[in-house]
């Protein structure tokens, strides 16, 4: 009579342990396998943050989004996270896209001013108006991939 109860208790304990283990070892978002929640142009994304950072944070931050735009420059110097810069707004508004080091070869062959589609996790606006040496503003995406 006691056996089923013990068995049940054991199952519950195992279940809880498994759930705790899974939560603790939760994987990072896999950008390639995640559908973009929003698709928009680089300038629309930049302007959204530039006009109202607080509301843009709620709308886009921590989400996988897809951005289309023109390559302004390639910033491949940091081998830990090669980066592409898309035109956002004029001379000081950009979208900065960080890639895994494994993507370096793909980025190296892209030519400047090419139009690209990029999917990545939005991290917010890196701009510091109070710091005079840092006039550029970047909306930052991480773990990016290029959509063919």
């Amino acid at each position: 009579m006691k056996k089923p109860i013990v068995l049940f208790a054991l199952l519950v304990v195992l279940g809880v342990a498994f759930y705790a283990y899974k939560t603790y070892n939760k994987e990072h978002t896999n950008v390639a396998k995640t559908e973009a929640e929003v698709k928009l142009t680089a300038s629309d994304l930049f302007n959204a943050f530039d006009n109202d950072e607080t509301s843009a944070m709620t709308k886009y931050a921590d989400k996988v989004i897809q951005v289309s735009g023109y390559i302004y420059s390639k910033d491949l110097g940091n081998e830990l996270e090669p980066q592409l810069v898309l035109e956002g707004n004029g001379d000081n508004g950009f979208i900065r896209c960080g890639f895994k080091p494994t993507e370096l070869e793909k980025l190296a062959i892209l030519s400047d001013s090419l139009s690209v589609n990029i999917k990545g996790e939005c991290k917010g606006l890196n701009a510091a108006d109070e710091l005079d040496l840092l006039a550029d503003k970047d909306v930052v995406l991480s773990n990016c991939i290029i959509i063919e």
């Binding site: 931050a61 110097g77 980066q83 917010g124 890196n126 701009a127 040496l133 991480s142």
Partner: protein
């Protein structure tokens, strides 16, 4: 005679105009690591998109880093860091504004290694405190690599650590900075 004055004035303008304009070194791909060591657990996170610049004339140096862009090995830790400790949607970035104290002793045009205290104001979660670190600057073929590290106590910046995880998070976090600056044209 008049021409001599004009040439002299133009030369001065050229020298100072050029020097002022040409003294800014920048990077948008700076690295900042933070490291917490306790007997229970080591925690480390990296940001590779730190925006920073310094003025080789005045020694002024500035940094801006997005909190959400610190990458952890474990996704759960990253989530807790952002949501529970840093409240990164409300306080999206951290900045530093300070001075390279001994900048006058640097010859930035020549290859070499220089050290100087870097002192200034660090802002995390809208709390600003003075910090100082010893910076090492290595000039090599026009690129200046700068490294520095210093320690912060999270409790100084309104970061409260719940009792449950108290043993796992150091009160003496090590912040390490590593940047390759290049000349801004």
């Amino acid at each position: 005679m008049k021409y001599t004055y004009i040439i002299f004035a133009l030369t001065l303008l050229g020298i100072f105009g050029f020097k002022n304009h040409g003294s800014i070194y920048k990077s948008n791909t700076g690295n900042i690591n933070f490291f917490s060591h306790t007997a229970v657990e080591d925690i480390s996170a990296d940001n590779h998109k730190v925006k920073t610049a310094f003025d080789a004339n005045s020694g002024k140096i500035q940094f801006s880093a997005l909190i959400k862009d610190f990458q952890f090995k474990k996704a759960l830790m990253q989530e807790h860091f952002n949501e529970n400790y840093m409240e990164s949607t409300k306080f999206p970035k951290s900045t530093f504004s300070g001075t390279i104290v001994n900048i006058d002793a640097f010859n930035i045009e020549k290859n070499g290694t220089y050290t100087s205290p870097v002192s200034g104001k660090l802002t995390i979660k809208d709390v600003t405190k003075t910090v100082e670190a010893l910076g090492t600057f290595i000039v090599k073929d026009g690129v200046i690599n700068a490294k520095a590290s210093f320690n912060v106590n999270p409790e100084d910046y309104n970061i409260s650590i719940p009792k449950m995880v108290s043993e796992k998070i150091s009160r003496d976090l090590k912040i390490s900075v590593d940047v390759d600056y290049s000349h801004q044209h």
